[in-house]
Symmetry: C2
Subunit: 204 residues, 2 copies
C-alpha cells in the first residue's frame, strides 16, 4: 500500500467515496460511476483509488465494493479509536464535545480543559480539568490528538503545551497559524478563512 | 485591482495577514517580515500582496501598513455586512448562531430554519421559522448566503431550495458534496475530511 504517500487532497476525498460506497448495492463499482456521482474527473478518482486499494480495479468490472470499503476504512483509521483532549470549553468547545457523530469517524474526546475551570468537573459525561492537569492527563493516557478551541491570543501557548506533553496531531479552531515542530500535523478550521472565500464571491 | 483573479489559497491567507498587520506598529511592513511570521515563502507573500494591494510595495520600504489593511478589508468585504440564513438548528447550528465573533468578519445570521420548527420562534434573539418560510424570507430579505447544518441526507435538498430562492454562496457543514449551478459557490466544512487527515497522520 502506498498510503504513506497519500496527498492531503486525496485524503480529503476518501470520506466522500466511503459514504458513496456504503450505499452502493452492487458487488463491483467503477471509477466512472464514482466520478459521475461527485462530478470529479475520472482520472483523479482512478488515481485516488489506485493509491488506496490493495487490489487493482479491473477493466470493465471495476473494484470489488466491499474490499474497497475496507481499504479506505483502514487508511482512515476507522474502527481504531483516536482519543483526544479538547482545550477551551466555550461555545464551540462545548458543541464539539457534545457532538455524537465523531465516534463514527474514530474520534473520542476523553477530557476537556479550560483556564476558567478551577476544580475537576464534568460536562455531559466528559471529565473537565484545570489547565495544570493537561500534561499528566495526556501523558498518562498516551493521548496523541489535541483540539484547540481557545481564542487566538492563547492558541500558540496551548499548542506548545500539547506538543510538549506528547500530542502529535492538532485540530485547530483558533484563527491563528500555529508553529509546530516537524512530525506534528496541524489541521486548521478557520472560520474567517472560510468566510473570506464566500464573502469575496458575493463581492464579485 | 486584480481581486477577481484571487486564488482560493490567497483568499484563505488574507485573514492571517490582516490579523498580523493590525498588530504591527510600524508605518511600513515588508513581505519578508510577514513571511517570517507565518513561515510562508517570501515569494508567495509578495505575490499575494501584489494581487490585493492598489499600491506596489517599495524596495527596502515595503508596504504602507494602513493602506494594506484597508485593501485587504475591502477585498474580504469587512465593513460590509453579509446577511445569512442558517438551515438546521441542532447542536452545531445553535453553536454557530450563538457565536458572536462573526460580526468582526462581516457576517450576520438573520434567520434560522429547521424541519422541527412548527411555528415562528426565537433563539437568543435569532428569529426561527418553519421550512415553508425559507423561500419568502430569503427573497424578501435579498439574502445571498446560506449556512447548511442539517444532516447529510437532507443537505442537497436544502441546498436546492436555497439556490432556488436566490442564495449565491453556501457554507456547508453537512458531510456531503453539494451540486450547485454555475455562479454559486460552496465552502465545505467537513469534519470527516479534517479527521481523515489527522487520523492518517497518527496511523503512519
Amino acid at each position: 500500500m502506498a498510503s504513506n504517500s497519500l496527498s492531503f487532497q486525496t485524503l480529503q476525498r476518501l470520506p466522500y467515496y466511503l459514504d458513496y460506497l456504503r450505499e452502493v448495492e452492487t458487488e463491483n463499482v467503477s471509477s466512472t460511476s464514482i466520478a459521475a456521482e461527485f462530478r470529479f474527473h475520472e482520472v483523479q478518482v482512478r488515481k485516488d483509488l489506485a493509491s488506496v486499494s490493495r487490489l487493482a480495479g479491473q477493466p470493465r468490472k471495476g473494484f470489488a465494493t466491499q474490499a474497497l470499503i475496507e481499504d479506505i476504512e483502514d487508511i482512515l483509521g476507522y474502527g481504531h479509536i483516536d482519543e483526544a483532549v479538547i482545550v477551551g470549553v466555550g461555545h464551540l468547545g462545548t458543541a464539539l464535545a457534545n457532538y455524537t457523530g465523531f465516534g463514527k469517524y474514530g474520534l473520542k474526546i476523553v477530557a476537556g480543559f479550560d483556564i476558567r475551570i478551577e476544580h475537576a468537573d464534568c460536562l455531559n459525561g466528559l471529565p473537565l480539568y484545570p489547565m495544570d492537569r493537561l500534561d499528566p492527563v495526556i501523558r498518562e493516557g498516551g493521548i496523541r490528538l489535541g483540539i484547540i478551541t481557545v481564542d487566538g491570543a492563547h492558541a500558540q501557548s496551548i499548542c506548545d503545551q500539547l506538543v510538549e506533553a506528547g500530542v502529535e496531531a492538532i485540530w485547530n479552531f483558533a484563527p491563528v497559524l500555529l508553529q509546530v515542530p516537524e512530525g506534528v500535523i496541524v489541521q486548521n478550521e478557520n472560520m474567517a478563512c472560510a468566510l473570506a472565500v464566500l464573502s469575496h464571491h458575493l463581492r464579485k
